[in-house]
């Protein structure tokens, strides 16, 4: 079980060079570091504290979504609705607060509850009927998308009250500016990484992903666990909604249209297996950073944005290939 439950612990305390080489996050981490070295050598502006804090700001929204996505993929599920649910949450928060339906903090809470509700509904449909996660969340994607456009009346919500954008504000650290949202994202990653690697709940999540039947026979309440995971993911999408608002300063009904696939990209790049049971949220964090670093670095070099899409696509195929090959070898 060690290879599946505590990949990061292995990284921190490598017993042998071989173990280090075989940790699931090694490949992604190497790719990230290589990319950083390359961009540092090719542009003057890349290797600055300000630029790194910028990259973290840019990936925090999709990063937070990707935490939820990781949890679901670890159970061998998938969530296509995360971007749309986030968009709906962000419109709920922005509109309620801007129009004074609810005080800002209550509006934020409402957004988290609404997104959590979507997650709960996803979980119930996946577990109780049961339906394939792909279909449930594909349907939910359209439901959330439509509700966003109906509720927003196609209008961007501007002039948001202060508490909604607080996470987008910065504080100085050395000669860089860090946003509170970046900090929150990092805390969320660490929190979920701890929960997955060091709690009973985490072990159950991996067990469920390896085989639901085996997990059930071992006395794990798989139904409750699955519904719980989808709900937690939903609440995370609500937090992503808040981060999105704070970052752009508006409530935007067009948001979230590619974030479902972007989050899956990050999860896969981070070495988490699409077949469930193997991977980590810290890997996902590395995956998110890989995308962010490429986008930022190529832009600084003056390379057109279409190359970023090209490279991301090739990296994803490579990452899945590695996953498949290592699975076959491990049989």
């Amino acid at each position: 079980m060690t290879a599946t439950t505590a990949p990061y612990a292995e990284l921190k305390t490598p017993t042998t060079a071989r173990r280090l080489l075989t940790a699931p996050t090694t490949g992604p981490l190497a790719a990230l570091l290589l990319a950083c070295v390359f961009f540092s050598l090719s542009t003057d502006q890349f290797l600055t504290g300000g630029n790194f804090s910028l990259i973290v700001q840019q990936v925090m929204v999709v990063g937070t979504l990707a935490i939820g996505q990781t949890l679901i993929i670890l159970t061998a599920g998938i969530d296509l609705s995360c971007g749309a649910v986030m968009a709906f949450g962000s419109i709920v928060i922005a509109k309620m607060a801007a129009e004074g339906t609810l005080p800002p903090l209550a509006a934020i809470t409402m957004g988290l509850v609404v997104c959590g509700g979507f997650g709960l509904l996803n979980g119930l449909l996946v577990q109780k009927i049961p339906l394939p996660p792909f279909i449930v969340t594909l349907g939910m994607l359209n439901v959330a998308f439509a509700l966003t456009h109906i509720y927003s009346e196609e209008q961007t919500v501007t002039s948001l009250p202060g508490p909604l954008t607080a996470l987008g504000e910065t504080f100085p650290l050395g000669n860089t500016d860090i946003t509170y949202g970046s900090l929150l994202t990092i805390v969320l990653f660490l929190l979920l990484a701890y929960a997955l690697s060091s709690t009973g709940w985490g072990r159950h999540v991996y067990a469920l992903g390896n085989s639901q039947e085996a997990a059930r026979l071992n006395g794990i309440r798989t139904s409750r666990l699955t519904i719980g995971i989808y709900t937690v993911a939903g609440v995370l999408y609500g937090l992503a909604a808040l981060l999105l608002i704070s970052r752009t300063g508006v409530g935007d009904p067009q948001a979230g249209q590619t974030e479902n696939l972007d989050s899956i990209t990050a999860v896969v790049l981070g070495g988490t297996s699409l077949f469930g049971g193997r991977g980590s949220v810290l890997g996902t964090f590395i995956g998110v950073l890989i995308v962010g670093v490429f986008r930022n670095g190529l832009q600084l070099m003056g390379v057109a944005s279409i190359y970023q899409t090209l490279i991301t696509g090739i990296l994803v195929i490579l990452a899945v290939t590695v996953d498949q090959m290592s699975r076959r070898k491990s049989r």
Partner: protein
């Protein structure tokens, strides 16, 4: 217990690392060869952010900007949203360009309102920001706007359609863009103004959204013909929608007696005017928008003077069946100046 997963052979991991490494280097290598031209110190950096990478209109805009940048020794950095309406993607692009040290940013805003806070941040750092093609809301969120007058573009084809109908009773279908998008609303309103009718006029028998898409334009026209088979004038938001409408009309054998008018002036669309599929179109000039935008940034870098206000980059009525009272240019001119 779940199956224990054995540590995988290090060979695979190592191979993967090497693969990714090679990819990193080749991918970036190709990039540095094509666009960046190294860090030639001293040259003015200009950023161009379009709505998407793929729309021929923006491809032409980029081409115009690249040529203008080359001619004036400036370095052009480009970026785009992933889809039309991708505000977050444009925000990221703005931030990265600011980090890259651009002197000015030319942007075609996907969402006229949502982009405003990000633009304000860039302007606060002393960067000249010019909107191309589409205004921001409020317009003062940018230093200057270089764009087609979309209301005027609509007026031209409205007046042309009116002149072509000469006393016949018009039954009009409008194939529009999408609710609340300024470009679509302005062209639509301009058409009605040029035709001399109001929004509620009974002459308008059908209005449908197409998103400016050919397939959706066809569906919209099919539905309009179901609703009102005697339609004889079709206003379309752009030429793809017009060509979709033409396909629907041809299926009913109506392509000869229905007048289709459009806006954009893309090369495919202009050829369709030449072939008689579309009666007339209002041509706009993205290349000019971009070239003038780059020029304004270079000038700002030289003398510190920021471009201001609205610059109309022009629009011409293109048709081979000229009508009295509607000044037009023929398709030979249109094809010389088309984009895409």
């Amino acid at each position: 217990m779940p199956r224990t997963i054995r540590p995988t052979p290090s060979l695979i991991r190592t191979a993967a690392c090497l693969g990714i490494a090679a990819l990193t280097l080749t991918a970036c290598g190709s990039g540095s060869g094509s666009d960046s031209g190294g860090d030639s110190s001293g040259s003015v950096k200009v950023g161009l952010i379009t709505k998407t990478d793929t729309n021929p209109f923006f491809v032409k805009m980029k081409e115009g900007a690249e040529k203008a940048a080359k001619d004036s020794g400036a370095q052009l950095i480009t970026s785009a949203g992933k889809f039309d309406g991708d505000n977050a993607g444009q925000v990221t692009a703005i931030e990265n360009m600011v980090a890259a040290g651009v002197k000015g940013i030319l942007i075609t805003p996907s969402d006229s309102k949502a982009i405003v806070p990000a633009l304000e941040k860039a302007r606060a750092k002393g960067i000249l920001v010019i909107a191309l093609d589409s205004p921001t809301d409020p317009r003062s969120a940018v230093d200057a706007l270089f764009a087609t007058d979309n209301l005027r573009a609509g007026e031209l084809i409205g007046a042309y359609a009116k002149a072509s109908m000469k006393g016949r009773t018009a039954k009009i279908a409008t194939l529009d863009l999408a609710p609340g998008v300024a470009v679509g609303v302005q062209r639509h309103d301009g058409f009605l103004k040029g035709f001399g009718i109001g929004e509620k006029d009974p002459a308008i028998v059908c209005s449908q959204d197409t998103g400016g898409d050919q397939a959706k334009g066809q569906t919209a026209m099919e539905n309009c013909l179901q609703k009102a088979p005697d339609i004889n004038v079709v206003y379309t938001i752009n030429e793809p929608a017009a060509l979709g409408a033409y396909t629907a009309l041809r299926a009913k054998g109506r392509e000869k007696d229905v007048l289709i008018v459009s806006v954009d002036g893309g090369c495919t669309g202009t050829r369709a005017v030449k072939d008689g599929k579309i009666a007339a179109t209002s041509q706009q000039y993205p290349l000019r928008m971009a070239a003038e935008g780059v020029g304004a940034v270079v000038k700002f870098a030289e003398n510190g003077k920021k471009a201001t206000g609205y610059t109309d980059t022009g629009v011409s009525l293109i048709t081979d069946k000229a009508q009295a009272g509607a000044a037009s240019k023929d398709t030979a001119y249109g094809l010389d100046n088309c984009w895409g």
